[in-house]
Subunit: 915 residues, 2 copies
């Protein structure tokens, strides 16, 4: 136990600092730091966490000397505030608050307006010129004190709070609805009733002596460290109970004691645009909550901020020039001290300026980039810090078109907001509703703006999704087919919008009691997940125009220049490579323009669905023998080859990882009677034969069925044709003088033997092709690690693999035993009720799946030291997962093209944080 038990802060003196968090708690240390900086915080003192520990361990006893020390501190506080505890004319009032080392919001107790009693309340009434305010503060204080200090809690769950009951009775008696409608006299009467309640329930009078009140409150706060709620919270967040809490006693200051009082909030820079100008609002003679309540309209702080169309506006700068000057000095000092944009709260009490709080201000992505780049230029921060100042996700948001904030605000207030779903693909889009992919393609080709609305999407809908401006589905999660494709194509998308009832036959949907028909306009905001009725205008992203579409020069866009600067900085810090998942030359080109260093995943099956190919694929499936399959595969060969040529050309020598066929064959067959009949005719087989084939291929659990390398092992001819297409394409493009680096990836491997089998097939084909052409091309053969067994036996698997790519989508499904397609029924409930902390398909489950990842890397490199390891599941674009990827030493992450900038920044942040 230290000698000093209490630390004073404010009024030009400060005994603590930001570094004394352990002793003073978070709040106490921050107040000390502000005071140390010379900021005019309302003065007060902090009782240390050591006292808390003593209090807890000694059954509520205080250490010797605390009482004397507190008397001294209280005197200092009285003189600093020029007010006295219990003074009927000008009483000192204080707040008593907890403050542990870690933030535990709402877990412990607080008492405000302490010091009020039957006499000081009159002083407050007089000095505020507002009798009602004073009595309202008093009745609140009595109730709060009764509740927190005297623990007059309801005796059972059924009983209501007695103070609440009395308040309701008073309102009934007066025939009013709201608290605010009660008069000062009413409130005075209520105080009397509250005090009677205290006596009745606790057997003692409400303490009139402010010092008794203070000791009661301090003990209550210390006690609250051990209340069940706080203890549970500590268990959840692994906070040791030995930390204890500090208690902060601070002078109350009021911005509503008259016209020489004010209260306001301000950002040191514009939190929306990032412009370097004060952005804030204030109110004369008001309390903090009035500024945000909306009952009075706040005025601008700076004159420059005034709205020219509202000449009646009066700025803080105009009305309180002295306080404003002090405020400006402070804001300048804050940014220099904290090296960041600050969000501050202040109060002016009788002309005296008080800082209540300062903290790093929340900001939009746009603003974050602008502030970070500006601050580098101003010398406030270095590039390394700048990289950490942007939420990595914001890098993608800046690529999306947006609705204007004014329009959004209007739409939400005038009833155009229809429903909310999951924000699966950022960006704004408006279009006419279309329910079928075929219609979308047809109408889209005519130039119509469309939103494709489906219960859920399947691979056959991809063309329609491409033709639409945006996609909306009633079912599915953040990693559903619709979400995956939309993000990969950069389409605004909302999924899992459960409020939609879609009636395909009637060509309409029902939502919130409304019926909306095909052809009607809707607008979707994929960044927020909100769906609106009607057409709302969306503005394109400047960054996209400059970097991807190249319709504008870099010099013409301030934000694009800053965006590029951030990415360049990020690149100097990151250790992880960043690749993209891309299936076409177009996607590849887009990813390169956003900085992709290669392709981490090309899904060959996506190519199988396009145009005439699906027919050839279906012929192959229907073939009864090897010869028939080979004939059909021969038709597919030139198409795949030309796909790969296009991608190799676009990638200009960057590595391209191509996965051999993965999905079960039944995914390529139709399901409805109509489609089956049509296909039977097309293939020249009987409907019965086709149906029998579909039945034979059907599976109980397709996710765990005949797919991945199991196909290639059973039908080596499929792997052969794919390997041939890849290698022939590579040779062709290499002949054009463009370097190529194909990496052939075998999916769903569970044992080394499976990989070795497919490796042998590929090597045999390579030898044949190289012999035929008389030349060779460098290539790698590797595997996806997407089954627990592959990770567990990675040491063996690595002996047959030149690279690993973690397919974390499937690895998450198998590790959790959780089907992504079916989890939608209960996963939201799991997350809501805290059974799972997050959707493991969005953010890598480090405790479980992460262990397998780490094991896979370590074991893999134990038998092949130079094994290249990446990640190509959805997690490759998720910042938290990227942080983990950096930690376990992956070589690269691979994500959809528009997540590439996110990954570059997240990788840099991980490198900086873990350095």
């Amino acid at each position: 136990m230290s000698d000093k038990l209490i630390y004073f802060f404010g009024a030009g003196s400060c005994e603590g600092s930001a570094s004394m968090r352990e002793l003073l708690g978070g709040k106490g240390a921050n107040l000390a730091e502000m005071a140390k900086l010379g900021l005019p915080v309302p003065p007060g003192f902090t009782i240390t966490t050591e006292v808390s520990n003593h209090f807890s361990s000694q059954g509520g006893e205080y250490p010797q000397g605390l009482k004397g020390e507190l008397e001294v501190m209280l005197s200092r506080l009285e003189s600093a505030m020029e007010k006295t505890f219990g003074d009927p004319a000008n009483p000192l009032l204080v707040s008593v608050r907890s403050g542990a080392r870690a933030s535990m919001p709402g877990m412990m107790d607080t008492v405000l307006n302490l010091g009020l009693n039957d006499t000081t309340v009159e002083g407050l009434a007089k000095s505020s010129g507002n009798e009602r305010f004073a009595w309202d503060a008093y009745r609140r204080f009595v109730a709060m004190y009764g509740d927190v200090v005297l623990e007059l809690k309801p005796s059972s769950k059924k009983e209501r709070d007695p103070f609440e009951v009395a308040l309701e009775a008073m309102k009934d008696a007066r025939g009013v609805t709201y608290d605010t409608e009660l008069s000062a006299t009413d409130l005075k009467e209520l105080v009397g009733q509250f005090k009677a309640l205290v006596l009745e329930r606790s057997g003692q009078n409400f303490p009139e002596d402010p010092k008794d009140q203070l000791w009661g409150a301090i003990s209550a706060v210390f006690r609250s460290w051990d209340n069940p709620r706080a203890a549970e919270y500590r268990r959840m967040y692994h906070i040791p109970s030995s930390w204890g809490t500090a208690v902060n006693v601070q002078a109350m200051v009021y911005g509503n004691l008259g016209e020489d009082c004010a209260t306001g909030v301000a950002f040191t820079r514009d939190p929306a645009s990032g412009e370097k100008q004060i952005f804030g609002e204030y109110l004369i003679n008001a309390q903090g909550e009035d500024v945000v309540a909306g009952t009075r309209t706040p005025e601008p702080i700076c004159s420059a901020q005034k709205d020219p169309s509202r000449p009646e506006q009066r700025s803080f700068e105009e009305l309180m020039p002295a306080a404003y000057k002090q405020f400006r000095e402070i804001t300048a000092k804050l940014e220099t001290h904290y090296h960041d944009m600050q969000d501050i709260e202040f109060t002016v009490e009788r002309g005296r300026f008080f800082m209540l709080q300062t903290r790093a201000g929340k900001r939009t992505g746009l603003s974050a980039i602008r502030i970070a780049t500006d601050m580098v230029d101003e010398g406030l921060i270095d590039a390394r810090t700048a990289v950490t100042r942007v939420e990595a996700d914001a890098m993608e948001h800046l690529l999306a078109p947006i609705f204007s904030p004014t329009e959004l605000r209007a739409a939400e207030s005038d009833g155009r907001l229809l429903a909310s779903g999951l924000p699966a693909g950022p960006g704004a889009a408006a279009g006419k509703i279309v329910f079928h992919a075929e219609d979308a393609k047809e109408l889209g080709n005519k130039g119509e703006a469309l939103i494709l609305v489906r219960v859920e999407t399947s691979p056959e809908d991809v063309g329609g999704m491409e033709a639409a401006k945006g996609v909306l589905t009633a079912r599915g999660g953040m990693t559903s087919h619709a979400a995956l494709v939309a993000r990969q194509r950069g389409k605004p998308c909302i999924v899992g919008c459960a409020a939609l009832e879609i009636d395909y036959e009637a060509g309409e949907m029902h939502v919130g009691g409304r019926t909306v028909k095909a052809g009607e306009w809707i607008s979707i905001d994929g960044t927020t997940g909100k769906l609106y009725m009607g057409e709302m205008a969306a503005n394109p992203s400047e960054v996209v125009e400059v970097l991807i579409k190249k319709t504008r020069a870099l010099e013409t866009s301030d934000i694009a220049r800053r965006y590029v600067r951030m990415l360049e900085w990020a690149d100097t810090y990151r250790k992880l490579g960043v690749r993209t998942n891309a299936d076409t030359p177009e996607q590849s080109a887009e990813a390169i323009s956003l900085g992709a260093e290669g392709i981490g995943l090309t899904r060959t099956e996506h190519m199988f669905f396009e145009g005439k190919r699906i027919t050839a694929v279906r012929k192959m499936i229907m073939a009864d023998d090897l010869a028939g399959r080979r004939a059909a595969l021969e038709e597919i060969l030139p198409m795949q080859r030309s796909d790969f040529e296009g991608i190799f050309r676009a990638m200009k020598g960057r590595p391209v990882t191509i996965r051999t066929l993965d999905p079960p064959l039944h995914e390529f067959l139709p399901h409805t009677a109509g489609e089956i009949g049509e296909l039977a005719g097309e293939l020249g087989v009987s409907v019965e034969a086709l149906e029998a084939k579909i039945e034979a291929l059907s599976e109980s659990n397709p996710m765990l069925g005949h797919r991945g390398c199991r196909l290639g092992i059973f039908y080596p001819e499929i792997t052969e044709v794919q390997a041939r297409a890849i290698l022939e394409a590579a040779l062709t493009v290499q002949d054009e003088g463009i370097p190529v680096k194909p990496e052939i990836m075998i999916p769903l491997v569970g044992s080394k033997t499976e990989l070795a089998n497919q490796r042998a097939v590929v090597e045999r084909v390579a030898q044949t092709v190289f012999n035929e052409k008389g030349k060779t091309v460098d290539h790698l053969i590797g595997t996806m690690i997407e089954l627990p067994r592959a990770a567990l036996t990675a040491d063996e698997v690595a002996t047959a693999a030149e690279f690993f790519s973690f397919g974390t989508n499937d690895l998450t499904q198998t590790t959790f035993g959780l089907s992504r397609d079916d989890a939608g029924k209960f996963l939201p409930y799991y997350i809501e009720t805290g059974v799972l902390p997050a959707d493991p398909f969005q953010t890598l489950d480090i405790a479980g799946v992460g262990q397998l990842l780490r094991m896979g890397v370590e074991k893999g490199r134990s038998t092949r030291a130079d094994l290249k390891v990446g990640i190509c599941g959805e997690h490759g674009g998720d910042p938290k997962s990227i942080e983990f990827a950096h930690e376990v030493g992956l070589n690269y992450v691979s994500c959809s093209p528009r997540r590439v900038p996110v990954a570059r920044v997240a990788a840099a942040q991980a490198a900086i944080e873990q350095s």
Copy 2:
């Protein structure tokens, strides 16, 4: 390199021993050991593996001194045999064989009858009195030598073996079909042709000098160590190439040189019954292959063995009393030396007895038990050794009814054998074919013997399976529904009998071109997987009659007494507990009579399908709200309670692990239109509503869907009712004076939070029930570990679990990403082609799933030292998996009742082997 390069054996002298396996190879060491024992092996010598290594590393050079040493050894061999190499009258002939440290059957080369040439062949003809035999031996030797030593292999795959071509031509010329039809003259002519071929192809004459022949053969055998076939074999079985092979040169002895010659095979005890009497056959003037070829009928060795109905039989004992005496001395010595029943081969050449081979004899399960118990009584082995002498699986085979061997042999030769499938449930059964479970129940109640034949079975078929004598399915693997249920109920069962085409509508099946109709008799042997036409009589198991049915006293059955003795011995050695998987009091009682020490898994859902319960379950599923579900669950409560009471009573204080509801709810709903219509009527809902519910509950991957604890978390009322049923039943039975130990097990847990959620539900119910009844019952709450994530985070999970039970079926599915229901399409191909070494659903995959098991145990015990850990998947009854369970320190294994004796023995064997 040692000084001594060659070791002599036989003729009363022996330079090696069984312990010199590294130097002499397996065969050489065994020959040395026999010689050391004083057994009359044909003498010979072994050239060491060191010579092999020298030969390999020095490009085919031999170490200095080898030639001289060989000359010495050859002289010793000649004098031991009283024959001389190249002697025209009485030539020494030898075999030259490889022999590595590990057995590599057929991988390397062998040369027989070496020493024959144009002059010695005449000597052989004369001494054998059989010119044809001598020339046949010679022509075989020339061809073998040409092939192995001179490497006159076909020059391409298309070309045929030239010696074979010449032989065929000769047969064509003589107008005969078989080799045996060629005369001595023909064979002599053929030798001439063969030699011409050798000259033509190799450019050199066939070596007439036996020493040249010998050196050629020795070099060829050493060379064969490095042939591609052997190298590939070594890679597969991890045999280092540095081991090298020895070469064994051994005198040829012939049992066909006249009437004073014989050859025979014998077991030192009866390999079928285990009786302590020589069981063997021999032939006068014959070679080894003649005994087994069936062209002559072998005679019994002992006179006691003679068939009274065949007075013409002449025993070895009678005909060759001196040799027989030597034979009996040897067999006595063998069992004393090897402490096991031996399978021996011998030859008598001109009255001289030679032992060719001795090895532990293969035996039936029955015989193994009898021999082991007898040998303990004889003081030959101790109980510990006896336990290792029985294949654990045999303990189950002895519980099954069997067809008599005579009947089986007859059925296979007269065309009654219809097809083969997987032997999924051991035992023999005959019955009339029935294709529907309902029919089986109806006819079974009338006392008809039935075989239920289905494409595959589902939970609704369980009643029908129970009513049938046996089950046969066209699809499914060893762990399909049919297989699991059949084994649990002890029903003979064949699954995956792919040759069956079942036509339910026509009420018939097609198999091997035959049509078999419902009502016709078939017989199935679930121990072999064979299916027969017609009714074959099956004999019940004595062990079952004594131990389970208790219709016979133990004293009346020799085999049952021995069976019990084996199990008692096993129990003294095993460390693992053995529990059973049982869902009814009947199964529980059966398991106890076989030694189960508790129940490791009671599946509550199996109870849900019976009788009226399914209706209540369906009502619960169809209920729209909590109240409706609760009402339906109230109907289920008394039924479940009485189920548990029955089980607790049967288990008499042994621990009973009960799993809360596991399967997805849609498994309880009907699927065909008819059933749906019927159920809708029954429940009073519309067909549309029922169909909508079925649709809403349908899942893409039910295995990974809304099941296990995910149900109990979503519908806590289900867990509540189950916990209440368990605890109320426990209290009732405890009141009857019977101790109870319920262990409530939560399935499909992937994270500690899930378990904690369900644990809280159970604890709340326990508190309520105990308060209501005013008494308590000890109980445990634990979880199944059946998802990789549960094993990976077992340290966390264990903080909420008092026990773990590995559900290795699901753990295998998720670790491999392999659906048991779908794997049938490609898993057999995988095993056939060596992609997987075994079906991981039958034998635990130690490399992958085993890692998770080990991790689960270690991590679990790291946070809860006294964590009880078991295994309740199918692997709990598999000996290899039990061995692993012992190794990782599980507390118990749990298996179906009839596997309990298997598990007891396997657990003891594991403990003995790993001690």
